[in-house]
Every structure is written in structure tokens, then in C-alpha cells.
Symmetry: D2
Subunit: 383 residues, 4 copies
Amino acid sequence: MPEPRIRLGMVGGGEGAFIGAVHRIAARLDDRYELVAGALSASPDKAMRSAEAIGLPPGRSYPDYRSMARAEAARPDGIEAVAIVTPNHMHASVAEAFLEAGLHVICDKPLTATLAEARRLRDKARASGLIFAVTYNYSGYPLVRHARAMVQAGEFGAIRVVQVEYAQDWLAGPLEASGQKQAEWRTDPARSGAGGCIGDIGTHAYQLAHFVTGMAPEQILAELTSFVPGRRLDDNAQILLRYGNGARGALWASQVAPGSDNGLRLRVFGEKGGLDWSQEEPNQLVWSPLGEAPRLIKRGTTAVNAAGQRVSRIPSGHPEGYLEAFATIYAEVAEAILARRKGAPLDPMVTFPTIEDGFAGVAMVEAALRSHAVGGLWVTAEP
Amino acid sequence: MPEPRIRLGMVGGGEGAFIGAVHRIAARLDDRYELVAGALSASPDKAMRSAEAIGLPPGRSYPDYRSMARAEAARPDGIEAVAIVTPNHMHASVAEAFLEAGLHVICDKPLTATLAEARRLRDKARASGLIFAVTYNYSGYPLVRHARAMVQAGEFGAIRVVQVEYAQDWLAGPLEASGQKQAEWRTDPARSGAGGCIGDIGTHAYQLAHFVTGMAPEQILAELTSFVPGRRLDDNAQILLRYGNGARGALWASQVAPGSDNGLRLRVFGEKGGLDWSQEEPNQLVWSPLGEAPRLIKRGTTAVNAAGQRVSRIPSGHPEGYLEAFATIYAEVAEAILARRKGAPLDPMVTFPTIEDGFAGVAMVEAALRSHAVGGLWVTAEP
Amino acid sequence: MPEPRIRLGMVGGGEGAFIGAVHRIAARLDDRYELVAGALSASPDKAMRSAEAIGLPPGRSYPDYRSMARAEAARPDGIEAVAIVTPNHMHASVAEAFLEAGLHVICDKPLTATLAEARRLRDKARASGLIFAVTYNYSGYPLVRHARAMVQAGEFGAIRVVQVEYAQDWLAGPLEASGQKQAEWRTDPARSGAGGCIGDIGTHAYQLAHFVTGMAPEQILAELTSFVPGRRLDDNAQILLRYGNGARGALWASQVAPGSDNGLRLRVFGEKGGLDWSQEEPNQLVWSPLGEAPRLIKRGTTAVNAAGQRVSRIPSGHPEGYLEAFATIYAEVAEAILARRKGAPLDPMVTFPTIEDGFAGVAMVEAALRSHAVGGLWVTAEP
Amino acid sequence: MPEPRIRLGMVGGGEGAFIGAVHRIAARLDDRYELVAGALSASPDKAMRSAEAIGLPPGRSYPDYRSMARAEAARPDGIEAVAIVTPNHMHASVAEAFLEAGLHVICDKPLTATLAEARRLRDKARASGLIFAVTYNYSGYPLVRHARAMVQAGEFGAIRVVQVEYAQDWLAGPLEASGQKQAEWRTDPARSGAGGCIGDIGTHAYQLAHFVTGMAPEQILAELTSFVPGRRLDDNAQILLRYGNGARGALWASQVAPGSDNGLRLRVFGEKGGLDWSQEEPNQLVWSPLGEAPRLIKRGTTAVNAAGQRVSRIPSGHPEGYLEAFATIYAEVAEAILARRKGAPLDPMVTFPTIEDGFAGVAMVEAALRSHAVGGLWVTAEP
């Protein structure tokens, strides 16, 4: 018998939300979850309408997340995990409610809108012993896994330089003034926190670099800019990173870079070689061993290591994309939840971003804001 | 209330099958289907084991497709459509059984192993009035839809030249001799039909060119080769095409082209412009209006026309891939089935490859074999 | 003391000619030649004006090529070689005049406008013992040399498939009707010969494939088309090639392919690997050893073999282009001429296309025209 | 009559030098110069041997630059301009000698090894009224010219973000310890100045950004690193730039980035669009007008503006490269010299980097060193 699907709930992700739909596809793609409950909107009407639209079972659409946490925890067939896809400022309180109910959490990023919340939530999650995943979804790409395993195996020698960037252009104009929902909340300090572009996509770039290299910077210097008149949060961030081992990094995040759709790119250079990977062409990675011809590592081929093969679904040349990588995060979390269910040890190759990564992202944003506040000085990365 | 999911059955696709798993993900991705019955293998044991592994409801795993067709047709909650993912030589008899049971069919390609079967099946499907889709999945890509709509709108003027190719390298050695299942049946005339590479991937290339240009050749000339010693079917095919309007085409399909994973590429050149699209980088298309700078059309952007937008799920820069395109075929068929269910008219933008495309593919293979048999002469494309 | 520069003359290449200027830069780039005489135009006035414009020494601009051949052969400081850059139909008589005068010849391609001329010229050149180079300039690219040496060293095993294409778009409209000189003579049978696109660029593609693989086809089948109304010569050619060893090739040449500037691309697939090279990005070549990650071979790096290194001028990453490759043909011919001068043996790595390649190109055009004339049948490649 | 060639001398560039040979080809390519004198090495023997090897006229190879300046200035047929291609620390004294002799100067970059020298030389050059070009050769690429003209025409609106990088890998190991000449002097403070990578290639990146955008930063912050043990100068530089109009820039230069050959890339983002150009594929530029499909601007096509067309030599698809761009600098300087000769006004489209650009580069290096010396603080860009 196959293991019964994991019963999943969702908070946020009602009508018009982009990321909620993505989470649902991601959960469904590998057939490990069943979405059975939700509080899909802060507006009860909209919550109910959204629940109907996606076919939630009757009686399991809740007007608010607190009642959902209580009710589901009390049901014998209640949810085992919740996916939190609200705007950032809600993450902490929602997550706390479900942790208190004894349920695993899958939370979107950035973890919280403030560092204080992030710290409190991290402590609570640690204490709970529950699984707490943060959907830094780009770490789900097979070739990102491959790259990480290469670094861990020492194939680049000591890392010297990290160049990571994440460029978009959808906020090059004052889109928030047009009523576009995504733009509205992402440029609103009350809902996004004090970081704009840096929180929304800078944290992705930061996490990706960390995930692949295993290195966290000791010092950070940030130049944050808000180019669009009237915008209340940064829409461009240039950040320098000093790592403890002497390595140096640069991170550029922008939402005002015309021609850029979702240009997340990571380059890592070590003593013995370099790597180059771009999210928009995720099925290939260029590996340049020093002094040799660069190799084009293509997902699904025998040139990919075990860590990368593990999370591939289909043969090389059949492109996997964003949804598949996102689904991999869900699949990895499913492994962890099922291991708990069965009291079995977790496959050591399973990996997914956790509350610790979530906290690190918020801490980076806070450090960048601190650096910026003093005119662009070097600051310690974590308080 | 959302429309209840379509109840789907599957024939073939048991343990170790590649394409069966793909069909299941494709059916699941957009949440329009529920897989509730199957005859997953010709071996009853394996069928049962496979059914369990994917969680089919008890009692709805069948030892053979005939009993499945009968039983499901008889149930009030029986399947509404069947997905056929067996080796090619089984397609016809399985499809006929389900058509006879009054059920819609979604069948893998090539449609059948022989032209006689294809004709009989086509006639039966036409007569039935049922939906009969053939999973030429590459026509599900958004930018393929975009390209087709551009051609239809006359943006290229009269088409002059079509260059289409589909190159792989997985059969560059005698893989079938190693016991690899995919290689075994795909190089076995008894299961694949008399076309090897030309049937397996040449038909995809042919259908893609037809789908985008709307043109079918009047004459065909084929040079088929079997390079690997001992191989019983062609592994390389070079085909010339003469269209009725004077246009000319060339189709190259190969499974012995080292460095090629799944290199399906279509270029179309008309009086007023050209287009270039590659399946391995499906999220962009180069459109070259004559005398102007080429445009990089990126999926999900405002540069994509309605036909391409319709079948996109996520924003530009968030790559969609093979599974998403495959899922689009399922989603389009779902539209058609639901329209039937409700007695509603079908959205005219819905399009998917049908039995007619399936027949055309088999006819192309037959014509190519005929041309080859006489030493490489021009033959009429369809008898 | 450095060896004195080779004294070079030029026939054709006056005002408004494109290729004459290219030859002059190519001859000058490596400082091995001195252009000292010319009959730059069939119109004596224009010849004189053109000579002045490029600074030919007084008294060495000739009104016609015959007087030039005679006069230069008689001078103690007369030219040692002549570059012939006239329209195709003049090549033979000009070349013969200079061969008769005992001078080496560097002739543009295609060699002649008819096969009869080509044969006569070939025989004459053979008999003369003089150097006769034909500027199939694409064989001068370093990575083309690299590719050829790889094939010769057996790194691909037996070659199975050759795909070569050369696509342009400058003749997609009736440019010849506008008075544009290049278009006029290249679409005029009287000046170009009976092959249009196939003679102008198809021969380049053919020679490139031959140069790299060392293989010449035994049989050819051609589909020639003239798409632009009123055009007298083919502007699109699809050609199939059967090689003696069982290998198969396809050649596509087009001047009506919008979006294509000078798209010469060669792909060669053998038992043990494949290669892919494009003239528009000439500084890299993709080498795909079967079953391994493709290697990006970049000009100027240590991954390039001796044959490729020999003809590189500057470090990797500093792109060399069309003029450098053209200059390499001149530099190679210079090696040959200087070896003659000094009575020294020629470095065996020196290679350049000769009258034999020129003849083969014209023979291919003739065979293609023969195939086309009978409706597209297979014909023997050389009579 | 064509204008007689400009008589050119050269200082430096003897045996084994890379850049001297490049300058000679660049000067020769368009046939505007005649190299007639030289002091090719500080070692008189080597100077003589090198002069012979490249065929300088007898009697015009000088043992030192001072005697050369004197002697040539005194000859009626003496040189009109000198090309200075020595290591950096010699530029200033050599240039001064030739300015004093009343001769135009073409000097390699960086201008000098110290800011004091740069200022003195700049003042002297200004006072002399002579032409003083600095070979920031990348500004010679046609599409760089095109980009600059687009910015000037306001096609991007106000510039917001500049991302420029220049990555190489040839110094990833301690090459200078192996006796390699290029590595030796470029990592030697006595010959290169106090900037290593930042002076050698960072100045190119800086100048390119300035050339295209017309903007100079007001403040600079630099993180310089020397990764290779024992290296005395920086081999990696991350620099942030604050422009007066609120724009922000980031410059990354590295010589320890495996997989990078000569990776100079410029991206500029303005209110109305973005551009992306890479030196290793110099024949295309991606222009992304905000909200529209990106355009692939290809050198030589009608999509290129007058500024870009002016400096193209051959049609699109026939790649021009590094040497052609370098030659364009020489060709532009030739225009300027000939205008002086004839007392004619200079074509306003002629442009080339001058002593002012040379000074700005050295000032940038100095500012970066200042920023670095204080631990990475923002400093004013020019003293």
C-alpha cells in the first residue's frame, strides 16, 4: 500500500493570489499531499468563495486561521501540516498558531516582516520540535542540488568569490499606484516589512548563495535605492558580503531592471573551478574546472551527481521548471513528515530550507537596512 | 461549486514505464482529473502491484483493458475517459475497446503501428462522435501556440521554408541489447511498427510543423538509416517535404546524434518574417520580422498573444517545462469533456491534437517507408 | 631580416565591391603581402579611380587583366600572386591568364560559372605546378581547424551524420530589382552561373563539411527553389548527401530565411561524439563526447589542439572574426609561396583550399542542378 | 590621390609582448598608418632584434625612446604619432618625451601608475594641444557606439542602474611565480602601480560604463582582495558607484574567476529600457524597451544607428572582433590626425578615448585604493 497522502491546510492564497496557486500545484504535482482545509483569505466571504473554487471539502473552509488551527487540530482526520501563503506581516502569527496546535508548517518567505518576530518564531519552532519549512523554492532545482554537492565535495576548493543577482523589471514603473494587488502589498511597509526588493527577492538570492556554498557572511554592506517616485520601499539593492574565510560576495537585487523577468543567477568561483547557473535556464549549469574546457552539465544526464539526480523527474532535454523545483520542496518536506509519521529515520539526502534559513533571510534584510541607515557602512551580518 | 474532476482511467503505464508517469502528472497538475481506474500492465500481477503503488481505489485495478472498459462503462461512477500509454502496437485495439464502451480517449503517439490500423481507428473514432486526443504534447507549449496564432494571423505572409529537427543521442549505442526497456520496445518492429526513430520522434517533429504552419505536405522523400549494427529500425531520418503552395520543408530526426538530448526545434520562414523555437528552451521564441531586429518573445510577457497567454500558468521568467506543456494537452481535453458534460459550446480557442493528427503521423511514417523502399524517391504524402 | 612581403596583384574589387575590400584587409592583416598592382574593374576609368583610392603605386593600375598579367610577369619586381575577386563568370579566363604568366593564384569562390570551365582550369592549374588557392574562407577559423584535426585523429569514430546549413535573408525580397549591385550579379545566370544560392553560399557549406570531415558524397539529391517572383536563380536549396561509408548528410542553404544574417553552421555526429560550430559565434565549439557532459571549446584556450592554436592570433575571450579567418587563408598561402621562394619544404600543418576544392564546389552545384532538373532524384556527385 | 598614410612610431612592444602586436595589427588593418620607427624594448639588443623581425626601416630602430623622440622630430619624414605600449610605469615619461617633441600620442591604459603622474601628464597634454588617445579599445566596438548613441538620444530615459563586470581567470594561480612575463609585470607594483586587477581591467570596465552612459560617479566604495597567496596586488575588486543623479552602479573585476576568459559585460538600466552587451559576443546587443519584447540588435543590420554603422566594416553575420574594435580606435585617431594635417574640421561623429579618460581611470583606481585603505568606506571619486 502506498503511504496515504499528507493532509494539508492552507492559510492565504485566495482569489487573485499568485503564490497560493503555485503552492497548490507544487503540493499536488508529486501526489504526496491532499489539500483538505483552508483559511484562504482574511475576508471571510472571499475565503469561502475561494475554497469553493478550488474544491475544498465542505466544512473545512475557515473564516480565520485561528479557528482553523483549533478545529483541524481537534479532528481525527485533521491536517498534518499547513502552508502559509499570506503577505509577510502575517506569517509569524499564523505560524505560531499552527505550531501551538502541534502542526508542521510550510511557510513562504521572507519569514517575517521584522527581525524580532523572526527570532521569536524561530525560538518557538525550535522548541516545538515540529517541521518548519520555508519555501526558498529555488533550492529545489536539480542543478542547484548538484552545485551544492560539488561544493561540499570540495570540487571547487576554497571558495573565493560569490556573485549572485536577482533582477526583475515589473516594478520599473509605479505599478502599485494602479491597484495591482501584488505590487500593492509588496511595496507596503506595513505588509512587507521594511525591506522591499531586498526582502522579496534579495532574500532568495542570499539563500541560494548560502544553500550552494554553505557560507554565511560575517559582514554586510548595503546600498538600497528606491528609484520609482513615491515608492516607500527599496526597489534596487547592491550588497557586498565578507565571509569569514576571506571570500567575498556581491549581491544585486533589482525590480527596476528592464528586460529582466526573473533573472536569478548564481556564480561561484573557487580555487579549482567556477560554476554558473541561471534560474531562467535551469536545466543546465556551466562548470569550469580551472584550466580545462567548461562543461555543460545538463539536468537528467549522467554528468549530474546523486544529489541532482534524486530530485529530477524526467529525462534530460525535457525541461523541468519553476513548478517542479517548487514541488521538490514539498516532496522533501513530505519525506520528512512521513518519516515522522512512521518513526523512521530520515534519508540524509533530504534537504529543504527551514526556519533557520528563514531567520537568516530576515537577519540579512535587517543588517542591510542597518548598513543603509548609516550611509552604507559595513555591519555585522547577524546581531 | 467547481465542476467535479473528470474520472480518468489508464491503460499501460505500470512499473518502469516512463510515459505513464508523465501522463499522470499531466492529468494531476491542473487538478481537472481524478485517476480512478487502470489496467496498468499486460501482466496481471504487475498491473495490480502498479495500481497499489500509485494508489488506485481498490477494485478498480483491472487485469486487462477489455474487462476494464466493460466494467467501467457499467458503473455509475465509471471513468469518463481513458489514457492509453501502452507500446504503439496496442494502441488501436485498446482505443477501440474504449470507444465501443462510449468513452473518450486520450492516446499516446504514434497512433498505431500500421496505417491500416490507423485508418480503421480513425474511422471508428469519427463515427463515435467521442473525443479522441493524441498526446502530441509539444503542441501544448505556450510559445508554440503563440507561433501558430501568428501564422494564422498572416504575420509571416506566405510560408516558404520549414526546417524542423528532432535530435537525440540515447540510441547512439546498442542500448536495446542491454535490456533497457524503453530501448527494447522502441527498436522492436513488432511493438513499435515499421518506423523507428521516424515513428518515435519524427512524428512529433512532423506534427509540430503542421500544428504551427497549418500546412501538410503533398510529397515526401525520405532517407532512413540504421546506423547501429544489429538495429532493426531506422535511427536517423532525413526527410524532404513539398507543400502544395510551393513551400519546402526539411525534417531531420535522429537518435544517434551525440550531444542531443531532446532537441526538437522548429524554424519557419515566410515572406514577412521568420520564427525559431526550441523545445529545450521553450520559454522563448525568436521572431524576426523581415528587415527589423529580431524580437525575443518570452512566455508570460505582454508580447505573447492571446493564444499563448491562455495556456501559461505562471509569470515570465518562471520557466514552465515539458510537464506543464503536457498538462496543457490534458487541460484542453478537459475543457472539451466538460463542455460535453454540460452541453455547452466549446471555447473556440481550445485546441489539442486529435485522431486526425494521429492518423497524419502514421501516414507520414508510411509514406517515408514507401519512399525509402524505392531508394529515396518522391512519393505522395497520403495514400 | 624578415622575409620581404609577397607582391600581390588584384583583379576585380573596385569601387562598391564588398569582397575586394575584404581580400585586401585579409592580405594586410598579418603583414605578409604588399598590394602593388591591380586591374580593379572591367571599366578602365573605374579601374584607375579605384586604384588611386586604395593607393596602388602609379603605373601599376591596369585597364584590363591581360595587360596586367603580361606587364607584371615582365617586371623584375612584378607581382608573385594575383587575387581574383571578379564575378564568378570571369574567374576562369582571368585565372588562366595569370597561370600562363607563371603567377600563383588566389581566387574567390565559386571557382567558375560552369563545370566545363572548372575542369579546364583545374587541369591547367595542375599542369602549371603553381599554387592555386580558392578562398573558402570559413576553413580559416581556428575552431574549424580544431574540429578537422579531431576528426582526423578519430575522436568521433566513424562519422554517421553531417548537418550543415547556411542561411541568410538578404534576398528575401526582390533586391536585384532595386539596382543593388551585389544582388544583381548574384542572381544573374550570366555572371553567377546556373546556381544561385547554391553556388554563392551552398558551396561554402559543402566545402566546410568536406574540410572538417574529409568525406565527399557519392550521391546527391537536390531540391532547389526560387521563391522570390521574377528571380532567375535558386534562392533556397535543400540537399541530401550519401557518403560512401554509409554516412548521411543534409545541406540547407537559403537566402530567403528572415532572421538569418550569415548563419553557417556545421554539426557532425560520429560513433563517439558530436560537434557543433556556428560561424556567427566562431570562437566556441561544442564538443559532445558520447555519454559525457558537452565541452565548450573556446578559441585560444589550452583545450584547443595544435591545428587550432596555430592559426589563433590573440588570447581567448578576445574574439577573432571573419576578417581574421579570411586573413588566415592568406597567411597560409603566404607560407606556401615563401616555401617556394626559398625552396624550403612546406610545414605540413599549412592547409588552405585549392583548385581541387574549387572544382568540387562547382561539381556539387552541377550535380545539384542535374538532380533538380530530373525532379529531385539521386545523382552521382561527380561526373 | 588618397591621403598618405600616417607615419607612426612605437615604444615598447618588442619580442614576447602581446599588446604591441595588437597595436600593430590595429594600425595596419584599415591601412591608415605606416609603422616607420620604434624603440621596441628597453634592452637595446632586443629592441634591434624586434625591429628587424617586424621589418622597421633600417636606421629607425632606436635604443631608447628619448633618442627616438629627438631624432624623429628632426626628420622631415619623421613620425607624426607614437604608440606607447610599455608597462604602465613607463607611460608617463615616454608620453612626455613625445609631447615635448610635438608628436601626437596613442597610449595604452591605464594611463600611468600613479595619480600624480596622471595629473602631470594630463596637464601637459592639455597644454600641448596635441592629440592624446588612450586605447580603451572596447569603446571601438560598433554596438558600444550604438549603445552610447541610444543613451545620448534619451532612449533609456534617466539611467538608474549600471552593472558592469570584467572577469578573467588567467591569474587564478600564482602564474607570476612561473616566470610568465605578462603575469610578472601585471602583478608587480613597481611596474603596474598600486592597482592590480583594478588597474589592468577594472579601468576598462569603468571607462566602458562611462563611455556608454556619459556618467561619472561622485562616490566610490571598493573591496579589493588578493586571493592568490603571495600576490602583491589585488586580483579581485568589487566596487560600488554613486552617481550624482541618484543612479547606482556596481563594478566587478576579477582575474581569479575560473571559466572567465575576457568577460567584459555592461548592463545599463534606465526608466524606459535596458541594454545588455558582452564583449565576448560583441556583434549583438540586447535592447529591452520597458514593457516590450527585447530586441536583438545585430551589428551591420539596419537596426543599428548611425554611430554604430559608421565603425562597421563588413555585413551582419560576418563577425567583427577584438582586433577590429581596436583598429577602430586607430582609425578614429587617424581621422583626427588627418584633420589636423589638412586644417579641416573634424567629423563630429569621430570619438576616441583621450587623456581625460586615461586620467579618470587612474583617478578611479586611486579612489578605490583610498576606500580600501580605510576598510571599505565611501570616498569621493576624484580628488
